[in-house]
């Protein structure tokens, strides 16, 4: 210990003399205290939250762009850019009034026409937006501060659509930017959020920098997730991308970064041993792992084969392999919706939990006519979560007596391949893995993976009109009891149909240096209210 601190002192002295005297390090110290260095879960490769919908893009966008409404920690939408709204008695006409004093980063005021253009672009790409578009009569600016959305049929989830934290969020951009084709990337990153994007310092794959926007007027309310007063306490936020978790852990231990969004569970004990580091659950809504089957091709075109998987799949194996021995970090799911949230249900989900029954599953597979053909399992190796899932699945299928054609590849290729409807032997697939943020599985609205509308459904293309009907029932429900009934029905139908196989619910950690205060548990890292000493 003695020797080490001596060596440290020597090194510090050397650094000191090299930077030329007292003034420089002192200055550096001040600047360091005002700059928050953050290691994000992934690289910010593109920066258009409507065009690219990865979680990391959404998270960065939350700094730069504001939303009309924002959900709080109970997933209730609260007013954010909107001052007041009014809905006609028939539920068809919504009139919104903007909060005064809103400004974009280029110092122009936020006007109703900006909102109209932004919502128009967003509605093309967002699942809820698409529903609104289908019902839309007109979306117009009444005056500079007021806009109106009139519909052909009531849409009770209007405010949730505008304030949800699921990607793509309904971000408000200046009209000239929002006029970009929704399938083209925007090239200018101007918003009205609490931070400005410092484009000159953006090095995709390595670094992204956000500076406090002095023209931002926070709301008065206490901040809660995407709602309330977004007060910024640091001058700069630097996102530093680190592809190697071991490096990120070392950097956090050495104080070279302040906050790490997604430490892997195995490294948490090391971080906990460090007295300067705080470790806590990142997102209480967690994640839902997915074993996704292709409903178009044998054997998984038969519900019995898919049910066999639900029966045999041990969520415990998947979860232990991924997050380790800490049992507080994971949970077996008896259904498809996010555990610990109001709509979570285990209706009909008995076969998903408890002791696994391989023999019964094998029998079901036989009944479904499985003929020993190779099962194409496509696994992205560059994502720790899918990589670990893939290894467990290969083992599971082997034990079920299935022949596995293990396709190890990267996330980009999985993305391309899963979109192919051709038979697995001709470039298609049987199974791939992914995971959904728990926030996307709290209810049917953002839960694209639970759609069962055949060709238009999410990859795997489940086709089951009953499930879709139950989903519509949820949209029409106006109280919690009605919503619950609809979701119970949807869950039971989906288990029976073997829509997909959840591999378990898991939480992940975040870690930060103790000189940072104000980090909250949330579905995304929030930088307002965070200060550094």
């Amino acid at each position: 210990m003695e020797r080490r601190s001596f060596l440290k002192a020597t090194a510090a002295a050397a650094a000191f003399s090299a930077t030329g005297g007292i003034a420089a390090p002192a200055l550096a110290q001040g600047a360091a205290a005002r700059t928050l260095r953050f290691v994000p879960q992934a690289n910010l490769a593109n920066f258009d939250p409507i065009w690219g919908t990865q979680y990391v893009v959404r998270n960065a966008s939350l700094l730069v762009w504001d939303t009309l409404y924002g959900v709080d920690e109970t997933i209730t939408p609260r007013r954010q850019m909107v001052e007041s709204e009014e809905v006609s008695a028939d539920g068809l006409t919504w009139t919104f009034k903007l909060r005064p004093g809103l400004r974009f980063h280029d110092n122009t005021p936020v006007l109703a026409k900006d909102v109209v253009a932004s919502l128009t672009r967003w509605a093309v790409r967002d699942p809820m937006g698409q529903m609104l578009r289908a019902l839309q009569n007109e979306l117009v600016a009444v005056d500079d501060n007021t806009f109106r959305w009139s519909l052909k049929a009531p849409y009770p989830k209007m405010l949730l659509a505008l304030g949800k934290n699921n990607s793509p969020c309904a971000f408000i951009m200046p009209e000239r930017i929002a006029k970009t084709d929704p399938f083209q990337q925007i090239t200018e990153y101007v918003g009205s959020g609490p931070f400005r994007f410092v484009r000159d310092e953006w090095v995709p794959g390595a670094k992204a920098v956000f500076a406090r926007f002095d023209g931002y007027v926070p709301r008065e309310e206490k901040p809660s997730w995407l709602s309330g007063g977004k007060k910024v306490m640091v001058e700069r936020v630097e996102w530093i991308v680190m592809p190697d978790p071991a490096t990120a852990a070392a950097a956090l231990q050495n104080g070279e970064v302040d906050w790490w969004e997604s430490p892997i569970a195995d490294l948490v004990p090391v971080l906990r041993r460090n007295r300067n580091i705080e470790v806590d659950i990142a997102d209480p809504l967690g994640n839902v792992g997915s074993f996704r089957m292709n409903h178009l091709h044998a054997p998984f075109n038969d519900p019995r084969a898919r049910r066999a998987i639900l029966m045999a799949l041990s969520q415990e194996d998947y979860m232990r392999s991924l997050v380790g021995d800490d049992q507080s970090l994971w949970k077996e799911m008896g259904g498809f919706f996010t555990p610990n949230t109001p709509l979570y249900t285990e209706a009909g989900g008995a076969i998903m939990k408890g002791p696994r029954n391989l023999d019964a599953a094998k029998k079901l597979l036989q009944e479904a006519g499985y003929d020993g053909r190779p099962i194409t399992l496509v696994v992205a190796q560059d994502q720790p979560i899918t990589k670990s899932f893939g290894d467990v699945s290969a083992d599971l299928l082997k034990r079920l007596g299935m022949n596995v054609d293990f396709v190890a590849t990267d996330w980009g290729t999985v993305g391309a391949r899963r979109a192919l409807k051709t038979p697995p032997s001709q470039g298609g697939w049987h199974i791939f893995h992914t995971w959904h943020a728990g926030a996307d599985c709290v209810n049917p609205a953002p839960y694209t993976a639970m759609r069962a509308n055949g060709d238009n459904a999410w990859f795997g293309w489940p086709n089951n009109p009953d499930i879709e009907a139950a989903r519509d029932q949820w949209f029409a429900a106006s109280d919690l009891a009605g919503e619950k009934a609809a979701v119970d029905k949807m869950n039971a139908l989906a288990v029976d149909f073997g829509l997909y196989a959840p591999t378990g619910f898991f939480l992940s950690y975040q870690a930060w240096r103790k000189n940072i205060t104000g980090v909250v548990k949330a579905p995304a890292p929030f930088f307002w209210g965070v200060s550094k000493t």
Binding site: A249, D266, R320, D391
Partner: protein, 303 residues
Amino acid sequence: MSTTFPSGGAPAAAPVMPDVMPTRIARKGITGYIFRNPTIAIGGFLLLLLIFVAVFAPFLWTKDPTALAPAMRTRAPSERWWFGTDMLGRDVYSRVLYGTRVSLIVGFGVAFFASVIGLTIGLISGFVRWADSIIMRVMDGLMSIPSILLAIALMALTRGSVGNVILAITVAEIPRVSRLVRGVVLSLREQPYVEAAIASGTRTPVIIWRHILPNTLAPMIVQATYICASAMIAEAILSFIGAGTPPIIPSWGNIMAEGRALWQVKPYIVFFPAIFLSITVLAVNLVGDGLRDSLDPRLAKRV
């Protein structure tokens, strides 16, 4: 060779050279060979040992290297798990032993294919004048792409399999072999006896068989051992970056890639395959050095 330096030099220099002399004691048979070529002997012994491990891995107290046991994950080395277990609870000892197969197959496979293809291309280039400049430009082009980048790019095209790893690394190594062979051919063609053979109308295949191949063999074998060693490293790097051998096949690169995130807490997952890889590459390099010294006439003359 000179045995003593003129006395004018620094005194420390004088007695150095004669020190190597005792190894020149002439002996017959295997022991003699070993004495004359200690590097080949050591390298060869290690290599044979590793080949033995690869072939007999199932009988060396191993378990199924792919069997998961998530409840027994990341256990430290102990009597039950000699090298510990990884994050899926697989036995690292068994994985490392089975991993020997992949490294050796990739190393030898690349060395073989790169030599055969490189030899063919080099011969064509050396004998077919009009093709020479085209082939050599293509080889220059390939050679100017850093081989690891080239292999990664090739792996991104195909799916991970041991065959594709061999293919990708082979493509990157071919230019070196073909240039070497072409160089030998061109210099041999200038030799009076080859010129005489050509002038007397001997057919090209015969010239190649009689005069060229025997002289190409020595430098090629040496080159092939180096290719073998670098292919093993390349396999590990590819797997390490996630563009190599499919992860369900235990290879040293894969084991290290999976353990890399945990090197701070569970260093043994990376440590054991790293040791095995280093020893294997070392063994191949030693054999290569030994072969070079005993086969390369120019260098052999001196020692």
